[in-house]
Amino acid sequence: MNLVVYILKKDVMYDFLLDIKNKFETYVPIKKDITRFKILDNPKDIDFSENSYFPVKEHFFRKKEVIFQFNGSNFLPVELKSKNKIFFGLRRCDLNAIKNQDFIFMKQHNDPYYTSQRKKAVLIGYHCTKALNKYCFCESMNLTDYYDLMLFDKTNYFLVDAKTEKGENLIRKYKKYFKKSNYKISDKDTYIKTRKINKKDISKFYDHKDWDKGINLCLSCSACTEMCPTCYCHEIHDNTEINNPRNAKRIRSWSSCQLKEFTSVAENHTFRDTKEARFKHRIYHQLQYFKERNKINLCTGCGRCITGCPTKIDWVKIINEMR
């Protein structure tokens, strides 16, 4: 959008964060046993060495959300509360995952619960300089630029690229920390070398015997979908009060295609009853079905489904080895 690139010195970055902390709820990656996005306390805690174990999806698409209440005769809409949040240090894959979720919850469907959380959030990226771990594969997922601000790490300073009005406003507001620069962000800066998926279309491999390598190890525990930044399956159920069943809350909560319960209907019929069907469905939805319908990849190649898997099923490797 704009061609002005700013410079943010690394020691100034800490002051900048302390400053925005007063106005915004600032989430930064902090490493303890694993890296998580947590509310900023001390800027020195920030750790860019690895990607956060969990995505920031839960801040927009809530794990559990009351959609409305019912008191026997009337609907009582819930108040949509949200805070001004800044997410600092999101990776390119996660930003694209937010893009996909925006597409689902804001373009395809007008979801007020998601929109109210998402509207006020500012996304500040941190560009990877190399592949973060041996599992990620974003190079073959055609990621695009989708951020408010993006930081490019240049050893002792950051180049800051603003993509949106929101990001530009933030820089204008805190302009004492930023310096203008003539640098132009090129493809060289945005390139991340990772491993790749060597197949564009996996539709004709559905019955391939190599899938068994993954299916035999799969425990259907749904850790992969719980950690996925793009998975958006959910279930809706009513919670009634114990002494007055006419008072009820309708609750939306996360669900997962890996669970039998997800496709079970009346008479205990389950559409995806076998582990095989569930295992393939996730991968095919991420790589194939969503693309056929909406022309974008749902998967963004962050590799969390493999790092989080109890048995470390590397389905990318399985696909790559198929002949």
Binding site: R36, F54, L219, S220, C221, S222, A223, I242, T274, P310
Partner: protein, 217 residues
């Protein structure tokens, strides 16, 4: 509406599962209003001979006396609910199956004769069990929603998702990555991953998930 006649009984066990019904402090009075507690030896009378709609049975069969009580109660009730891990899977007392009697019997059991007459087994190896409320101890929310359902003629739905679902939702790091033997991926959840939240491995108290695993040889 006629109130359901309910009994809470315990055979060999620590009574913790019956306690977790009582721990329902905030809504205990609401629950008692919905049902008629006909027997609860723990706090009320025995009433072994009355007819029941639901019996919540805690503990496992460890001797012939237990077996007698269980069979008698089963004959008097429409539905039998296994309350807690001992009744459901056998839990800790059933570890006796995996140890050699010679190693421990002389330490504790030499005087108590009746302990030798039967191997400890969960109640479903003796009688038909209609519902289970798993957990050691069971989650009080689960007990509440179970009672809520049966009062309204809804078939209670057991929670079948693995512990990993809730554990990941609680943003815990994976204990398997830290080389700890966690049974979370294959264990039925619903406990809000209380053990793994505190860094303890899941030991499978709620029994296996019904997700259709095959044993790998």
């Amino acid at each position: 509406m006629k109130k359901l006649k309910i009994g809470f009984y315990g055979i060999t066990g620590c009574a913790g599962c019956q306690l977790s019904v009582i721990f329902e402090e905030d809504e205990l009075l609401d629950i008692i209003n919905l049902i008629e507690i006909q027997a609860w030896p723990f706090i009320k009378e025995l009433n072994y001979d009355k007819k029941f709609d639901y019996i919540f049975m805690e503990g496992l069969v460890a001797d012939n006396e237990d077996k007698g009580i269980l069979l008698k109660l089963r004959a008097n009730t429409r539905f039998m609910v296994a309350l807690g891990a001992c009744a459901h899977t056998g839990c800790i007392p059933a570890y006796r199956h995996f140890t050699l009697k010679e190693n421990y019997a002389h330490l504790l059991y030499e005087k108590k004769e009746n302990i030798k007459d039967i191997d400890p087994n969960p109640i479903d190896s003796f009688v038909k069990v209609d519902y289970i409320i798993p957990g050691c101890p069971p989650d009080k929310n689960e007990i509440r929603s179970f009672i809520k359902d049966i009062v309204r003629d809804i078939i209670p739905k057991p929670y079948n998702n693995p512990v990993c679902v809730e554990c990941k939702r609680n943003n815990n790091s994976c204990l398997l990555d830290n080389k700890k033997p966690c049974l979370g991926p294959i264990t039925r959840g619903g406990c809000n991953s209380v053990c793994t939240n505190n860094g303890l491995e899941c030991w499978g108290c709620r029994g296996p998930t019904q997700q259709g695993h095959k044993m790998q040889s």
